[in-house]
Assembly symmetry: D2
Homo-oligomer: 390 residues x 4
């Protein structure tokens, strides 16, 4: 199958990107095994109805600051049980090809100013698209979570931002720098982390100006996914949630990042936002994200919900979710690439509210309830399918 | 408020009926407290849109074989923490009034033949309606669960059933005898237990013939409720469930009944039916219902779900639900009375598929997924609301 | 039964003291019901062997700063399900008698200097003992948890402390002020909270000087109790614990105090100390204590243990403990009073290492494993029993 | 290291024996990795004090009816995550050597009568010992669980048994046939399954007559292990257990066997026996063992304990144990071989009560509490160590 759609990972050698890359190659080559495509929402008939590009049409490139090669990273993931043992070996050659397409990430070592960094990223993206004759390139941020952003007037409008960059200043957090450069290069963006990325007003304005769609933010893969399904259970049954307490134990790279309280704050806020919105009232209870290195790429979440029923009787629900972070995230990343590519093809612009189904903090929408998000997603897919491809 | 709608409980002195009765009286008198109406789905705007009779318009009567009076039963439930301590005392007089309206249940002691029993029940219902000048009476089965029914050609058609009853035979299980008599008396039926009740073909035929609606069966209050919310989570996310194991510990009267393996079979089948339908494939795993007297009116369910994600990686979800059976069931019983009364008013007949939201084994529908059931319920309510009352 | 042993609660109107007081009165009067004495370790034959004073011989008094009377507090606890509904009413008169014996707690409002406060507390204790002709009085700290203590040379020796007090200074945290005054009055002390109390070197020196025993600190009632039983399971089976993560949700007064991070630090340190000691190596994993007001006097703890077995295979254990804080603590408080009284009678002085069984942070011992603590306790009781009473 | 002690597995190609064999070889060759010997109780100083034969001194043989070779079985276990991926390959040659020593198990295909089968097994054992010049051979039953035994007077005494065998009858269940033959060959026996084995009176009499020790039965590896640690927690704290409900989900070979209700009965009885003994009173609650093939060699147990504290307040403890059956059992099997060999060396005979620590249904002892079993084990080891080797 000829590649038509480029995928440009920011954080291309991280666990999520590596898992997505191995999976995409294995699916393309038909060696993923019977459960290979499990977790790919885009393969469900209600979503496939949108007539999406095939996984086999994707071509992967990206930026990364890590020195560990993609084939090596895949081996490590296989040792941790995230990938089937045989795949890294079978795909070693193809992974090395992808690895050869990766470019050094932005940083003080590579670029004198943010303006120069943005220009270089934009050039990398244009070169990637031209060299492989791709119809479009989707930029996906799967790099480490950044701390929340302080107020900065230079980020309030595109004009203010351009002035600051021209003046040699560096007002953009890395995720937003990539989004800025991507939009300049005519590429849609998928913000899979809670980092600011394309949400920064100046950058969102650029997307609007260039007529580009983007999706975000913060992939909903575990405990928040369950919350977004269980909170509606309580509201549909008129049961009153009194407290909802959550503990998340993470071992992987993301866990390590979140050991830094500033970065954790970003994730915690993103996770908490939805619950109050779904229940219709604030609710007590802590929300912890803890780094437990021993867990490797796995995460375990425990939630305790105390609720009230008829005549005030108190009851409780607890759940424990034990999942593999990268295995949960990777198929959604591929889904988002295919859906965002289709959205661009169909001429959609700005934040893609219909993709809220995938995110903890859905851009362009206040809806956090998974069933309603599913309805919105599948209605949108049906519409795109009916409209026909460009 | 003048009573307009009769509620006739089969099993009127059981935990569920007693809790519903106390709750209905407390809500009518405005003494239920701030969380009193919690769990009443009919109070949600999307359901109230159907323009339902008010809880205060309900007048309660019923049959029971138990000798323990309603006020005494309420005291016992308060001691077990199912009802607020003060209510049985405050409502003692009103409970005694309801108790005075209860009639002895059908049984060998009271009736020579099933025909006679049916006639007597029908007469009780007609007398109740006439005496209190009620627009309609809804019969609600909240009595003990019966064992599954063996094939019997006498139950296959109304004609065959009438012949057998005329011949002095007793082909009907008690739940179906009550449903038969109810329909003869022109009363809609709510089958809140897994017992055969109105599902028996001959009895369902009678409902059709008389143009009466009925709802059933087996109220969805705990572990199955969660299953019907979580199974769609897995299908919407294209995750493959490998096994789903369930343990239910029950202490109450229902638990005791279910200690009898024959009755348990009825419940187990009713609970299991939905999972395969929701997942689209059969799934391994035991389903236990155990009687643990020490738990009283409380039940604790533990479910373990093993599932598979991207590239076949295995993960798991566990939940523990600790609920009060009667407190979960009672508000749904009141909801069903109000909705079924409204359905009769609007001229609906036969099994009310739109009420599948309330049941483990929805009559007239194959849909077990809670979000889809909610959509069906609220669409129906909106339609009834738009049509106006008769 | 004539009272022989006084109990002087610091925090006499708190949940733990109120529950202990109601229980002691109910047991004395023989109205505690069949499960009344459940949780009283001193009633087990191996402990009773020490020939302890009977619960009926205890006479209760104390200090408190709260204005809510003991009978009122008991009613509130009964409403929360901590005490049987009937007891507060039946015991109202006796609770009012205890309440009349309570004295205002130390604080800026009552005493100009710490020296004066200590003198007043000492006088209160001596008056209580004299008035009721008690053989001895045990002072039990069940007041709110204090933050950890900063280094202070004035607390390093009794001489330094006396100089500071004489100079009108206030170097003692409240818990240690009470312990100081108790020892001056010739009373043994039980430190049931993690507050510094008698552990402060200057105060411990005073106990030694006066030949008085004391016990502490921080009652082991829930999650740490389980830890102290389960950690030895892993070591006895040569299984390697890789991480141990704990979340504690508390609703009661203690939870509120611990919402203050400084106080929480005190408890967290006290809880964590034991695990490393029991496992023989440090172990990863967070330890959270969270205040969830909705839980009332109840607490729920979730622990997740990741461990390694043969050839490095990884496995896990999770537990959820849902307990009533005061109901767990109160019988231990009565046990400690009776055991400490017996220790004084037998001439024991200083920290009572044999009572480590009751504490998260056992004074006079490095042993945290519950089975070994049980062996030490019962050996000590057997010895006291053999020695005979004074 | 020269082999001194033979290990003869009945069920030598099963999961437990294969894991134990791979582990023993890996430990001998020093390639087990840092966590290799984890789970080996015999390596703890308190147990090693008995001066046990080294793992490297063990030589493995056995019987099996399965056609799957040991190297193949090891590969399958590695794929299921039970063994490290590299070991089966590295040890392929040594596993083939062990495999070559395995003899066909007893069955209708191999032996005309039980007498002949016993003679053949005895001859196999004697040949194994002679060929490898072993000081002793320990026979370990790790084959499939058998159903409980019906009363049979032919098994009541050795004389009756010998008469029946002479008469060409087949009164012995397979596990007891192996034990009988082992004792005839002068070999001690370890009964790691709940099958009757050496417990049958006639066979136990033979052990006594020949002056041979044996250990059993039913290895305590998971849920029962936890029970034996947690039940003493409740008794030491004088808390009253009201109900204890257990659900065990097993995927492995043992799970499959236990899908047969008759065999499950054997295990269930063995598991339940201890709880009442430890708590001192019978206790409500179901005990389920379910076969869930999807879980492979893993098992998940959920226990729910409802208990009562001070003044009758009710609380609960739940735990979930997710373990790898063979990885939990294998090191204990090696421990038991080494301890039983040492017992024979020291002249011990009959059931080894001191090894109750390892078993659900300890032969020669009524003690089920793990801490007390640990004390008994380590006291015995200290005594053996002090006595010196033969």
């Amino acid at each position: 199958m000829t590649p038509t759609t480029g995928v440009w990972f920011v954080g291309a050698r991280g666990s999520v990107a590596t898992t997505a890359t191995v999976g995409a190659l294995a699916l393309r080559d038909g060696i993923a095994g019977p459960g290979g495509g499990t977790g790919c929402v885009a393969e469900l008939p209600e979503v496939a109805a949108a007539r999406l590009p095939d996984v086999g049409e994707l071509l992967i490139g990206g930026h990364d600051v890590s020195g560990t090669s993609l084939p090596k990273r895949a081996e490590m993931l296989a040792q941790g049980g995230v990938l089937p043992a045989r795949l890294p070996e079978v795909l070693a050659g193809e992974l090395a090809e992808v690895d050869a397409r990766l470019r050094p990430g932005a940083g003080p070592a590579t670029d004198a100013t943010q303006r120069e960094a943005a220009d270089r990223i934009e050039a990398d993206l244009r070169a990637f698209q031209a060299e492989h004759r791709l119809r479009r390139v989707i930029v996906v941020d799967v790099s480490s979570t950044e701390p929340p952003l302080a107020e900065d007037p230079r980020l309030d409008s595109l004009a203010a931002l351009e002035r600051a960059l021209d003046a040699g200043e560096a007002p953009l957090p890395p995720s937003s720098l990539y989004a800025y450069a991507a939009f300049r290069a005519g590429c849609p963006v998928v913000a899979f982390t809670p980092s600011p990325g394309p949400r920064v007003p100046a950058v969102a304005e650029l997307a609007r100006e260039r007529g580009l769609p983007w999706a975000g933010s913060d992939g909903k893969t575990g405990e928040t996914l369950l919350k977004s399904m269980l909170a509606p259970l309580f509201t549909m049954r008129a049961l009153r949630v009194r407290s909802w307490s959550s503990t998340n134990l993470l071992g992987g790279g993301d866990g390590q990042t979140l050991a830094d309280p500033a970065s954790a704050a970003s994730k915690t806020v993103s996770k908490a936002r939805g619950l109050e919105s779904m229940l219709g009232h604030p609710v007590d209870g802590p929300l912890h994200i803890d780094y437990v290195p021993d867990l490797g790429d796995w995460k375990t979440a425990w939630d305790h919900v105390s609720f009230e029923g008829f005549l005030g009787v108190r009851m409780s629900l607890q759940f424990t979710w034990a999942g593999c972070d990268s295995a949960l995230a990777a198929p959604l990343v591929l889904d988002l690439v295919r859906l965002t590519a289709r959205a661009q093809e169909a001429g959609e612009t700005g934040p893609l509210a219909a993709l809220g189904f995938f995110f903890k903090d859905p851009a362009g929408s206040d809806e956090h309830r998974l069933p309603a998000q599913w309805d919105a997603l599948t209605a949108w897919c049906a519409r795109l399918g009916a409209e026909g491809a460009a």
